[in-house]
């Protein structure tokens, strides 16, 4: 595979969401696409207790030369992909900087404290404003709604990966995605995933 230059080395991606949204799957798919391109990739993840309704985060470091730490230093994300809107804000608070790009699925998953009325969940406009102010560019999608239309809300994660590919900041595309998905998934699920990817890509057009 050709090893096209990165915009920055290492290029740092945070994929965030709530346990059960397919965060790990999304980070694996994206990382595998990049390994196929010839890059050295580190994914930093923790799973276990945090998956039970907690915030989850994958750190992806992409480099043409070296292995980087599984934790991105504070304030050093280049791209934030949020499967849940307030998680985008949480991650930007720690890893944001004036050059970061953000991609946000706007479907909220309410924390228990919000459900019970102990805490407030910010309005969508407030979230958009905060993300836009803390990012160089930002893009908001209704990935979960689209995924439900496709028949399975979990596909929201793949819609987001389709959107990442279309942003043009990483050398990944539909062909690479198809190759990775065909290798790692039962054939019966390939078609839905390809459609989800296409929906995500179209949303960033």
């Amino acid at each position: 595979m050709t090893n096209e230059a990165l915009r920055k080395d290492p290029y740092n991606i945070v994929i965030t969401g709530v346990g059960g949204q397919g965060n790990v799957m999304a980070s694996r798919v994206l990382a595998n696409m990049l390994v196929r391109r010839g890059f050295r990739v580190t994914i930093g993840e923790t799973f276990g207790m945090s998956q039970r309704g907690g915030s989850v985060m994958s750190h992806i470091r992409v480099s043409s030369a070296a292995v980087w730490s599984p934790q991105i230093p504070k304030g050093r994300a280049d791209l934030v992909v949020a499967l849940e809107p307030v998680e985008a804000i949480r991650v930007l608070a720690d890893y944001g900087n004036p050059a970061v790009k953000s991609l946000v699925n706007m479907r909220p998953i309410y924390p228990v404290g919000v459900i019970t009325g102990e805490a407030d969940y910010p309005a969508p406009e407030t979230i958009r404003k905060a993300v836009a102010a803390l990012s160089e560019t930002s893009c908001f999608l209704d990935a979960t709604a689209e995924a439900i239309r496709l028949g399975n809300p979990i596909l929201g994660n793949i819609i987001m990966i389709g959107a990442v590919a279309r942003l043009g900041v990483l050398p990944v595309n539909r062909e690479l995605f198809a190759a990775v998905i065909r290798e790692g998934m039962p054939a019966s699920r390939v078609e839905d995933n390809l459609r989800a990817f296409a929906i995500g890509a179209a949303a960033v057009a």
């Binding site: 595998n32 390994v35 276990g48 207790m49 945090s50 039970r52 599984p70 230093p73 804000i89």
Partner: protein, 648 residues
Amino acid sequence: MSMDRGQREGDEVLLMGNEAIARGALEAGVQVAAGYPGTPSSEIIETLSRFAETGKLYVEWSTNEKVAMETAAAASFAGLRSLCVMKQNGVNVASDFLLHLAGSGTRAGMVLVTCDDPGALSSVNEGESRHFARLMEIPLLEPADFQEAKEMTRWAFTLSEEIRSIVMVRSVTRMSHASGNVILGALPPAARKAEFLCDGAVSDPERGPMISAPVIEKHRLQQEKIRKAAAIFEKSPFNAYSGPERPELLIITSSACRLYSLEAVSLLEAEDRVGILKLGTTWPLPPALLKRVLSTTEKILIVEEVLPFLEEQVKILAAEQVREIGVKTFYGKNDGILPMAGELNPDLVMAAVGRILGIDPPVLSSAYREKLRAFAGLAPRREQTFCPGCPHRASFWSIREALQRDGRGGFVCGDIGCYAMASLFPAAGFYTAKTLHAMGSGTGLASGFGKLGSFGMDQPVIAVCGDSTFYHAAIPALINAVHQNANIIFIALDNNGTAMTGFQSHPGIDVNAMGDASPMVDIAALCGAIGAKVVVGDPFALQETRETLNRLMEGQQGVKVLILKQSCALSPEKKGTKRYLMQVDDTLCRGDACGCNRLCTRIFRCPGLLWNREKKKAQIDEVICAGCGVCAGICPAEAIRCEEAAKS
């Protein structure tokens, strides 16, 4: 996308640290692997189980870590390379056997992999297994990246055979659960045949009995092995120095901390001032190598997580050689420049290096920091809780109701598993769970509390215990409670699998780690056989469960067992399916006007049930709700409706 049989030697693939360790064991020709599930170690045995094959590789989930180590040791004694795998506190469980195994020695290569969890990302302790290597006098290896995790595990078997001792490979969460590129090596073709040669003299390591006596002789022999390991480590490629010839500051580090150190130095642009000695063989330390590197500078920073394990040993070596290498200034844990609790990251290491060298770490512009301040606190906290449809929520709900009705201030002794959340996040267990310690300790504590009646304690005592934890460590405690006639209710929260760590099999399930049919050990039958009174129920039947509990509380002295059986919401048979379609009837939910004070959302707290602030009524979130139907039973106005979902 992860490790599979289709991959070939020379392929460069993305592997999780744990998969890289498993691959290393396969490349070494491991034939028996045993472990007990525990985050962050579980994927090693899971990966190996996919490669299991009769006569080539046997893989098991043992009942606990001690049994896993014994299983692996038997294979080593019989001439097969073997592996045992556990998380940090699992080594505590296995340590009694480990002490004696270090004494008896091993035959075919035997490796212990432990995965520690600095920062307790998925543990209720920050235990350190590194100290066991020193305590038990066995060699310790620590990989610092993914490729090395594979190479080191493979080599650990060779070392084990060379010195006839078990070898410990220690990983951490940030290695085990991180992923990176790994170039695969060849898998060995031939499998060895098992035979335990045991007709020789006690002193014969090849054919003698495997025992730790005569103790003093065997102990000396073991120390001889450690000296031999130190000599081998002097030339090990797993130890490497990078940096200037005479650095202003020398960092000595190992494991994931090496990557943090490299990043910290790069962020400070201090590559020409700082050297990094990365150690892969961390016990015993190779003294000549240390002496050589320590001679190059006066300032030394030791970067490691949690306790100052490396730091203390480096200091001992430096003190012994002070005449030759000169006086040093040490930085690390003891002087407080790095924290002694919690995990490290590149930022903490950068701050420490910056302070020593007088470099200010780079910061974000003040305009950006201003914006961060403006939006601070916008994201509401996300507290962990049981999954929607989790049987534990229903069980604890009934426990709460029963304890309230009883009114004597009863409480629950918690244990390890998803249901530990009841102790960790009080609202998740409806403020009933009040203790949480080691695997099985809830039952042991309850047994003790249950004997305090003669001192005037009349609070009902309940122990909860998951199915996997039951087999692991609760059985001796439960037998104790029966024998001592302790007054307790023991609730087995049987959700049909080791849910917390990803549904590994255990003795209560009819398949083993390799997917083969295997005999089941029935919890109810076992409890009955030891003389406890046993009731079996469904936690989703709220009223019945509550009534049973109150009956047991009022009943006679002794151990009463209630087994609450209902599969985990994420179990393969349930995941993604809904038994019921739920709906809140707006005409019946009287919202804030109802005297229930929002019982459903404020107290019950299932994430599938929301409070609609505009309507001021409860509402089902159809994406999150798992359709278990339980909440229908808690609404006093019967506003939550459930309708049997059509089977697809």
